[in-house]
């Protein structure tokens, strides 16, 4: 008899727990992906870019660095012709700013990139620590 009452209590507790968990209902946090400043369409289709942009950039890097083929379409520099976020001073923010185009999603997904240890993260090539943009 005692065991049965305990079982009932257990299920009641489980039920109350589920009820309470509904109390945390709120809007889900999403990254605030900045609009591109120009153009309707990225260099590839959006769904493809969201999944595979890193492959394009790494492929481009290999082609450029190892084979000397330097094209514009998939270059990192080309990203920033459209994907720039302006700061309060109306200047493009660098990757140090959490509003930077790359950082919005990369922070969200906790994915670190090492592009900007050498490359510039703003159009036109602002001064960074690397020798060449």
């Amino acid at each position: 008899m005692k065991a049965k009452r305990n079982t009932q209590r257990f299920w009641l507790a489980a039920f109350i727990f589920v009820l309470f968990s509904f109390g945390v209902m709120a809007d889900v946090p999403v990254p605030d992906i900045p609009e591109a400043v120009k153009g309707e369409q990225c260099v590839e289709e959006t769904g493809f870019m969201r999944r595979n942009h890193m492959e394009l950039l790494l492929h481009q890097r290999d082609d450029t660095l190892r084979k000397g083929i330097r094209t514009q379409k998939h270059s990192l520099k080309n990203c920033f012709t459209c994907h720039v976020v302006k700061g309060a001073d109306n200047q493009p923010v660098t990757v140090k700013d959490s509003r930077h185009f790359c950082r919005e999603c990369h922070d969200y997904a906790a994915v670190q990139v090492d592009c900007f240890q050498c490359h510039t993260s703003v159009p036109g090539g602002a001064k960074t620590t690397g020798t060449r943009p």
């Binding site: 257990f10 945390v24 709120a26 809007d27 990254p31 492959e55 906790a110 670190q112």
Partner: protein
């Protein structure tokens, strides 16, 4: 959107089964008396000693190490890698992501491979060691197959066919906020999540219960003080 709803319902159901199931088992384990004083000697004579013994048991699998080096090697490799992998997956459940979780990401990637290597070793053992092969049942193979499939499908998302990781995280957070979001319907994602749902459901009714069960081993969690303190439990208490 249909898929998002189906997977969301399955995940809620699986989570409920996992939590309720494991808590129920823990209650059963905790209530089951250990009538005899049977710590495997040499055993600690103080409570602190038992805590230290259990810590070693949980973190480095001490008695398995003493028993069998090969099983220990693959088993420990699998479990440590799994710990890293699970910790890495925390990123889908929190926003902002903890710095330590962000830091662990690259290690977690390699851990995925280490996990599979460990599982492969453990599976090979079930074929290659006669005595183990003799006691191996179908469920042992299926459990290993399930874990390997989860590992492979996870690595496939990372290395074969990427998914929209941001959308995926939004979907997972949506589950936690009860604010359903669209799930990216890439095949490996659906496969990975589906297999994890199966794992969550069978966890409370399978050998995977060694996770909480480990802490209830009378041969490891008892203090070696039969003369100082009279041990009574279950029928020895009557």
């Amino acid at each position: 959107m249909t898929l998002s709803v189906v997977y969301a319902i399955l995940f809620y159901a699986a989570t409920l089964l996992l939590v309720v199931g494991v808590v129920r088992k823990i209650i059963i384990y905790a209530r089951t008396p250990a009538p005899l004083k049977i710590p495997v000697t040499p055993a600690p004579t103080t409570k602190a000693g038992v805590v230290w013994r259990m810590t070693k048991e949980v973190t480095v699998f001490q008695s398995l190490f003493k028993a069998n080096k090969w099983t220990w090697l693959f088993g420990w490799m699998f479990h440590v890698a799994l710990a890293f992998v699970l910790f890495r997956h925390l990123r889908y459940f929190q926003e902002p992501v903890w710095a330590i979780v962000a830091l662990i990401q690259p290690i977690g990637q390699y851990a995925g491979f280490a996990m599979l290597a460990g599982l492969t070793g453990l599976w090979a053992r079930r074929f290659l060691v006669d005595r183990v092969r003799y006691i191996t049942s179908l469920s042992d193979h299926l459990m290993l197959a399930l874990l390997v499939a989860i590992g492979l499908s996870g690595l496939a998302i990372k290395y074969l066919a990427h998914t929209d990781i941001v959308a995926l995280k939004t979907w997972v957070l949506g589950l936690m906020y009860f604010d359903l979001q669209p799930l990216p319907s890439d095949i490996f994602v659906l496969l990975h999540l589906g297999l994890v749902i199966i794992l969550m459901v069978i966890f409370p009714i399978s050998k995977l219960l060694h996770v909480p069960g480990l802490f209830f081993m009378p041969t490891r969690n008892q203090v070696d003080n039969p003369r100082e303190v009279r041990h009574t439990a279950g029928w020895t208490a009557k």
